[in-house]
Symmetry: C2
Subunit: 611 residues, 2 copies
């Protein structure tokens, strides 16, 4: 390694592409006729192999939704480039112990409480000139995103930065000539300020798109800079979306029309526009929708409870209408072309989730029975199949989301999936109900959902309850059998986080703060600490529940140390458990045959465990 530079390539004489080329996952190649000549380095390398230009660092890509590290000026004469220095970050070694001759990978992993990569920005001219962008990086070390949009003119770029505790977020305007920044707006939150994908963005008429929390709702702003900063006599800009409509993601800004997703019911994600004609829902049915829009044409993807796969429709700009500004009359349920879906049909019976709102907190849940099961025909063992971690909902009005759960149901389980506190789509307060503690409320909601479901459905056998999950869901499954063996009788924990001090800064500190400042919170959420409690217990008094732990040994996100340390702690407590180490497998779903066999082994294990 000798560091990474950002290179640009010319498409031909005098015409620069808007793609960076060279190393880096997010950089394309300036292809096309006459392409590939005149490559030039615009930033870096600077001799330090720990320094990159133009790439997203680990935290940006994994936790902030930013997969890029450079932004072109609208006029193509300069770039805003992230410089990342991983020198201060702890190095971790990810070995491949099944192939001992392979040299272990060395990764810079910023674990909770430890140093992050040092991220800064430079303005790079095509002539090789570099201008540092200056802001208070001590107070705001996280570079959330940047935006250098703007039609007609060529405004200064916007950058968004965040404090280490994530309770302050600033939008800054960077002077493209001097690199000096000025504050446009600061948002604060006693817990954390959310990062919303797709903002800031600029409309054709120069309004800035942003979001704000008001009335326990994440709401859309589209305002001038002055309105956004609150410098006008009337104070800050008012949200354009109503209370109760939770804005999720801004997908595109097309002229003055903003395409975004939002939920008024958390299990459903609608596609919406905001434009000169106000706020309009583009999606026309219950379901989970997404889309893109440009030049007045909208592509809508939709999944519903009636279909396994996705429906994709293309809505052209209204004939005769102004393409850019129209979200217009031409966009409706019957208009546009449909793109055929060639998804392979699943071989198993279609999932028929019973959608529920359970208990006093109205926890959204889906319950799946075997296709061959007759209601009231006898008790079924129950399998909870949650994710449970912040944001990532499992209970959505899309049938395809339940294929694996239905497969488990076919093996003879009643499968219950519940989205408790912390899940997206129900507003800021629900999100923040897990601040400082994503053990107890998360576990409590699973238990409450189970018991509420069992009251409605007598076929659920509460004496045979298993729980399985991956990643946060694996954490939850392991915690469940160790902390609540009265409720849970077996668990399969895939790639679990077992000790949050081993997980990364931005995710973990958002909820638990710094380990040195909040050790109790970390301990309370540690599966290792839970196992250590059992070590001090009389082995005859422990209620042992079968626990299978699965982990990819090549996982560089939730490293295998989580599972190995838990296994050691369980062994020290004399706690029977099973480990399945997956060689060469990372945090994501492995190859098909492994995935299938993993499911088979889980079912065999749970069947045995529940008797």
């Amino acid at each position: 390694m000798s560091g990474r530079a950002l290179r640009v390539a010319s498409l031909g004489a005098g015409s620069e592409t808007r793609n960076g080329t060279g190393s880096g996952t997010q950089s394309g190649t300036g292809s096309g006729s006459g392409a590939g000549t005149g490559d030039r380095v615009v930033a870096g390398p600077d001799g330090n192999p720990a320094v990159t230009y133009g790439l997203a660092e680990f935290i940006a890509a994994e936790e902030m939704g930013r997969t890029r590290g450079y932004w072109w000026a609208p006029d193509g004469t300069a770039l805003l480039v992230a410089r990342v220095d991983e020198t201060p970050v702890t190095r971790w070694y990810i070995a491949d112990p099944a192939n001992p001759e392979r040299s272990p990978a060395e990764v810079a992993y910023p674990a909770a409480g430890t140093a992050n990569a040092d991220v800064s920005l430079v303005l790079a001219g095509l002539d090789g000139g570099l201008t540092p962008v200056e802001w208070d990086r001590d107070a705001f070390p996280y570079l959330v995103t940047a935006c250098w949009d703007g039609e007609g003119g060529s405004p200064d770029p916007l950058i968004v930065v965040q404090s280490r505790d994530q309770r302050r977020m600033q939008i800054l305007v960077a002077d493209r000539g001097t690199g000096e920044t000025s504050l446009l707006r600061e948002d604060t939150d006693p817990h954390w300020v959310d990062i919303v994908p797709g903002v800031p963005a600029r409309t054709a008429s120069g309004r800035i798109v942003w979001t704000v929390t008001a009335d326990d709702t994440r709401r859309l702003l589209a305002a001038t800079a002055a309105e956004l900063s609150g410098e006008l006599p009337g104070g800050r800009a008012e949200p354009v979306t109503p209370p109760g409509l939770q804005v999720r993601e801004i997908l595109d800004v097309d002229g003055d029309t903003v395409l975004f997703t939002a939920s008024d019911e958390p299990t459903q994600i609608g596609l919406w526009t905001y434009g000169p004609d106000g706020v309009r829902q583009v999606s026309d049915r219950p379901g989970v929708f997404g889309g893109r829009r440009a030049g007045g044409t909208t592509v809508i993807t939709g999944r519903t409870l009636d279909e396994d796969g996705a429906t994709v429709r293309v809505l052209r700009a209204t004939p005769g209408g102004a393409g850019r500004e129209s979200a217009g009359p031409g966009i409706g349920p019957t208009a546009g072309a449909r793109i055929a879906c060639y998804d392979e049909k699943p071989e198993l019976p279609a999932p028929r989730p019973v959608m529920l709102s359970l208990g006093p907190r109205q926890i959204r849940a889906a319950l799946l029975f075997p296709s061959w099961h007759e209601p009231g025909s006898g008790p079924l063992p129950v399998l909870l199949d949650p994710y449970g971690g912040p944001h990532a909902q499992r209970v959505l009005a899309a049938r395809g989301a339940y294929l694996a759960s239905q497969w488990f149901a076919e093996q003879g389980f009643a499968v219950l999936i519940a989205d408790g506190r912390g899940m997206a789509g129900r507003g800021p307060a629900w999100d923040r109900a897990i601040a400082g503690n994503f053990a107890d409320p998360v576990l409590e909601d699973q238990v409450d959902a189970l018991h509420a479901a069992a009251e409605q459905f007598s076929d659920l056998d509460l004496s045979r309850v298993a729980i399985r999950g991956w990643s946060f869901g694996g954490y939850l499954a392991a915690l469940a059998v160790l902390r609540r063996p009265d409720v849970f009788h077996a668990a399969v924990a895939g790639a679990p986080v077992t000790e949050w001090r081993l997980y990364d800064t931005h995710y973990t500190e958002r909820y638990l703060g710094l380990p040195a400042e909040n050790p109790e919170a970390y301990d309370n959420c540690s599966v290792i600490v839970e196992a250590e409690r059992l070590q001090r217990a009389d082995r005859d008094k422990i209620t042992f529940r079968p626990l299978m732990i699965i982990h990819g040994l090549a996982d560089d996100n939730v490293v295998a140390a989580h599972t190995l340390r838990l296994s050691s702690a369980l062994l020290a407590a004399g706690y029977p458990h099973t480990v399945l180490p997956l060689s060469g497998v990372t945090h994501m779903t492995p190859q098909e045959v492994v995935a299938e066999n993993l499911l088979l082994l889980q079912v065999d294990y749970l069947r045995d465990a529940l008797g």
Copy 2:
């Protein structure tokens, strides 16, 4: 690292110690009054970090019983020093994935069929002069041992070298002035020539102690160089021990008396002397004996079936007798002092192994019942608890060898330990019955022993048979359930070799030859290949047997790759199994609390598995 040198330290003015000092596990420090001054380097370093002087390489220490790499001249004026160059050896990385911040250890591991360390010898004078010892290292790359004994005069050193295929072994005499060597004797064997601990050695009168195979017996030689080399008209020297007495280890040469262990019954190891008065047995009871002898005084350690621990007696030289030469009348059952034994008493009932010779091959075996079991009171599940690998006997007439097995018996098992073909103490033909195949005959002997025992003892329930073992025993246990599920119903495999291509050169090639030349032998002995056979089978047709695999992740002898690859192959076959990865644990028994819990988890697992 910058290579390792051999240093010597003076005990005082002009008096050199006979201990090397400096780095290296086998070097002591020249301590005592006035010690520690005048350290000097006598050999190395030579700038290459892969080169050491004075140390045993991995293969020497692990497989040849040689833990040292230097030998003093009897007159203290020079040393014979091993130079080891690990440059050609493949590097393996042993990581600690439970502590990802720790840099993985890099070890030079000579796997079967790959390059060994390049081992040579130099004669090092105390003045810093180095003289290379020359022999045909291409034909005889293994340095088995060296011997620079000799009283009165100061003869040239003897060195023992072996061919890569281990079928030829030479004793060479090295000229201490020139380093040139001359052949004293060559032994050959169509399978392999055994390395016997403690030889060659020289007696006071200058005879060389060696061993030879004759009449299917490993027998002692004590002969002049001329007799040994067969240069006399009468041909080679005749063995001094009788046919049927299997010489095991030469412990000491004291004057003209040779102290050694030998067996006429493989489960018993007697202590013997050979001297001017012929061959005499020193140990006086059935059991397992060892000892040391110098200056006419003998220390005898003995273990028997009547005692848990060891008995240690000290027999002084016969009063009035000549100390050195006497193995004499003073050595008898009643003579000498007894050293008290302060071994902690085991808390469990004393093992009461029933010693058996089973089946047509009279396989030696020990059978242990729970102390509370009444014969004929009902069937017990059977636990086979073998090692099974070449040499390392488990069935010995020493009660302390059965403590862990008795603990398992107390949990409700009939525990059977059988030593099949390949085990030490029964002679060269029995040793060589596993040449080219240590899968089938080894497994067959376990099955035959089981069935023969069940014919004698009706309490053995052949419908509930488990097998457990460590290292080779782990290999055997895994192979047993995969290849013979008709016999074995559950297994616990600890630190198993699953693929012999991943094990080391000297051990593996001795039995299986080179992988490139004998791929069928390697495949036939591979648990991985056995699992791959199951991958091709219809999953409905496979007889699944519960299999728990335990492996220390820091194991640098049988690396964790063995278990991880087996687990992957089993997963690909959809074969349920349990892995217990032991973080920070090497190939040896881990710390006490882990060991205890490991036993508990194994019992829990086997009980569940056998129903």
